[in-house]
């Protein structure tokens, strides 16, 4: 990432345009991803129907996050005090570099020989695995999807469904290559291969690394949501448990989870509850037979406070990473997860990435949207996602304007402010459109490459209206 950032200006945009073009031409892939999401839509709708009023539930979930994020100054210290009282140790990281250093120090102190990890997007954000491996630590991703992506040497394709783009045949081949297992086309058998492979690794690991979905201020607990049981095992068997979380994950009350946990499951995976929703408050207590001796929590800022400082987009910190906005996004479904080049893909990723990694390099993600708003409609915590894409565009036009674009819009204002000029310009456009279509006019050419354009009418509406003698004012 750092190396890439040093590349030529606009590299991220050029890469996006290139990858998007390649991807949309891969009809087979697009159909595969679309089909894989089919079951999600069915189960999501079935689960939503069990809510007596889904919209009110969204209000409540949104309010819980709104009131926590807007009182983070009060609730974050409260959470930390309670978590420490429970015997956990808190570490603060201003940025990715500091978080990596803290975790490496903890791993070193633990004299770790084997590290097992459960799914944690924040660790993807700080490129933790690469840092651990660089220092000679082996780290195993235990979530099936993450494990498959780790073997493939790829980041997650979708931050909830990491390998949704991979066909079972490819997984079979991958397991054959790395684990020496015979080929199979059965998702069940493939899952069992990973299960068998992983069991001894849980037992052998001395450090377990997890993320966190919620930090409960009033009780000092962290809440982790998962389906497979790998996070449960990761936090149960190794001697040291390290959890990495963004500071925005705080909620005030334990009771808030009674709304947020089912909403996360329904919006994110079409379930009534994710299989395991687990609250941890520190290491093993006296009288408990197992559990880690130490529990560490790394609290990461990494530009979250920059989003917090923007009242307009502060609600993007409400995000509970359910991924619902990706699943309905026509951009995501057509360009695929890798095209974004970000840790967080899809609409919410396009909103927050410019804050995390710079507006000038990442505003193209906000521009690459038809602003259809499907994302905001499904967001369980009512983030105004698609309007924030507009806000990013506005901020970019203010701070890093494209000179030619700005000139174009200034011309537009001159024309739009003068009805006679607008009418005259329109007439010229209509009468020359037939000819323009045959010339390589920018934008028009881009339209015509894939789409027809109708012939322009001879008379505009205003001409027809005037001629009918109905003009007023």
């Amino acid at each position: 990432m750092i190396a890439q950032d040093a590349q030529s200006p606009q590299w991220a945009k050029k890469k996006f345009l290139h990858d998007a073009k390649v991807h949309v031409q891969d009809t087979g892939h697009r159909t595969f991803v679309q089909k894989a999401l089919g079951g999600y839509f069915l189960s999501r709708d079935a689960q939503k129907a069990r809510y007596r009023d889904w919209e009110q539930a969204r209000d409540a979930a949104s309010l819980a996050k709104w009131s926590a994020v807007n009182r983070l100054d009060e609730l974050l210290p409260l959470f930390v005090a309670n978590f420490e009282a429970n015997g956990g140790q808190v570490h603060w990281a201003r940025d990715a570099e500091e978080a990596r250093r803290i975790i490496l120090d903890l791993v070193r102190e633990a004299k770790a020989k084997a590290i097992i990890k459960s799914k944690c997007m924040t660790s993807e954000e700080i490129h933790l695995n690469a840092a651990l491996e660089k220092d000679g630590y082996g780290v195993i991703e235990s979530d099936l999807g993450e494990f498959i992506q780790q073997l493939r040497g790829e980041p997650p394709y979708h931050f909830v469904f990491p390998c949704m783009h991979v066909r079972r045949e490819e997984i079979s081949e991958l397991f054959g290559k790395f684990l020496g297992t015979p080929p199979t086309n059965s998702p069940e058998e493939l899952t069992m291969i990973a299960r068998r492979h992983m069991r001894q690794l849980y037992v052998d690991a001395d450090v377990g690394i997890t993320g966190a979905n919620f930090l409960v201020a009033e009780t000092g607990q962290i809440s982790i949501t998962e389906n497979e049981g790998n996070a449960r095992l990761t936090a149960a068997l190794p001697r040291v448990h390290i959890s990495l979380s963004g500071i925005e994950k705080v909620v005030e009350h334990l009771d808030d989870l009674a709304v947020l946990l089912p909403m996360l499951a329904t919006a994110g995976a079409g379930q009534q509850m994710t299989c395991y929703n687990t609250l941890y408050s520190g290491p093993r207590r006296d009288g408990e037979c197992d559990g880690p001796d130490e529990m560490h929590l790394v609290l990461l800022d990494n530009s979250r406070t920059a989003i917090l400082a923007d009242p307009e987009q502060r609600d993007s910190l409400h995000c509970i990473r359910c991924g619902a906005c990706l699943n309905v996004c026509p951009i995501f479904k057509n360009v695929g997860g890798f095209t974004y080049g970000t840790t967080y893909q899809g609409p919410i990723g396009s909103v927050i990435t410019p804050h995390l990694r710079g507006l000038s390099d990442w505003n193209h993600l906000s521009a690459a949207s038809s602003l259809c708003g499907a994302c905001s409609d499904v967001c369980p915590v009512r983030i105004d996602i698609h309007h924030h894409l507009l806000h990013n565009r506005r901020n970019a036009a203010r701070t890093v304007p494209n000179r030619w674009e700005k000139f174009g819009h200034q011309i537009f204002v001159i024309v739009a402010s003068r009805p006679w000029l607008f009418a005259a310009g329109g007439a010229i456009f209509r009468h020359t459109l037939g000819m323009l279509k045959r010339l390589p006019v920018p934008l028009l050419r881009d339209w015509l490459a894939t789409r027809a354009l109708p012939a322009a009418p001879r008379k505009s509406f205003r001409q027809q209206w005037r001629q009918a003698g109905k003009d007023s004012l």
Binding site: L17, A20, K21, V24, Q25, P330, I331, K333, N334, V335, A367, A368, S369, S370, L371, C372, G373, A374, D377, L390, R393, R394, N395, A397, P401, E405, K406, H409, F412, V413, A416, S417, R418, P419, F422, G426, F429, R430, L443, L444, D446, W447, A449, T450, R451, A452, L453, P454, P457, K459, S460, F461, R462, Q463, Q464, W465, R466, K470, S472, L473
Partner: protein, 245 residues
């Protein structure tokens, strides 16, 4: 009620028949229509591109044009959303905020206006065709107009209304997006256009002329129908005026 027509720039220049149909339907229902020729464009292209200072100038002008109009009715969910939803945001904390909110309260999308404001669902039209309805995203999600056009269509004589399986998906137009990211825009047109065409309808009815531009543009160029016919788009107002293309 005296209705002030809000004819978006695209309709004015490229699909004037839609504006004519709007006026016909409203007048048939006994309402006088006016067209204030000072109007040009709502400013959405600049607004969506992020050039809000430029868009603001255009918006302030448009607010002046429609000053005092009892009801402002436009045949585009997108342009109406610009006036109703985005003008107040654009002009927030400026001296024009009150005027923007005032205009927002008087501005309506055509189908919504008929059903919610005039209380009319049957305008007495006949349209003997199989049709499907394409929801423009701004109408659907910014204005929350979904049932009204369908209520109007169901009341049309001899019209058969069918739904497609991607009813709430975007056509991929998105204004300048369609030419800045043509490959993504086209892929979206493929998804939505294909879904609409697979209903084997004769017409795709819409309340957004620019969605029609996108869908027609894609279908005419790319759709390979087993029956050999390619559905055409038509504006809701044209259907209700009882005058197919």
């Amino acid at each position: 009620m005296k209705i002030s027509l809000f004819i978006p720039c695209f309709v004015d220049q490229m699909t004037p028949q839609v504006g004519v149909a709007v006026a016909q339907v409203l007048e048939r229902l006994g309402h006088a229509c006016e067209f204030r020729s000072g109007q040009t464009c709502c400013g959405q292209p600049s607004f969506n591109a992020g050039y809000w200072d430029e868009a603001r100038e255009v918006a302030i002008r448009a607010i002046g044009v429609f000053d005092g109009a009892e009801a402002v009715v436009g045949p585009s969910g997108s342009c109406v959303a610009m006036m109703r939803v985005f003008y107040p945001e654009l002009l927030k904390d400026t001296p024009h905020e009150t005027a923007a909110l005032d205009l927002a309260a008087r501005t309506f999308e055509f189908g919504e206006f008929l059903v919610k404001k005039l209380g009319v669902t049957d305008v007495g039209a006949r349209f003997p065709h199989r049709v499907t309805y394409h929801d423009g995203c701004h109408g659907l999600r910014e204005l929350r107009v979904k049932d009204e056009p369908r209520q109007l269509l169901r009341a049309v004589r001899d019209l058969e209304l069918v739904e497609c399986d991607e009813a709430e998906s975007c056509c991929g137009f998105g204004g300048l997006f369609s030419v800045k990211f043509p490959m993504i825009s086209t892929a979206m047109a493929e998804v939505k256009g294909g879904s609409l065409a697979r209903t084997q309808c004769d017409y795709i009815v819409s309340s957004d002329p620019t969605c029609q531009l996108q869908l027609d543009g894609w279908l005419q160029r790319n759709w390979r129908s087993p029956t050999g016919t390619i559905p055409r788009t038509i504006h809701l107002a044209e259907v209700l005026a009882g005058a197919p293309l």
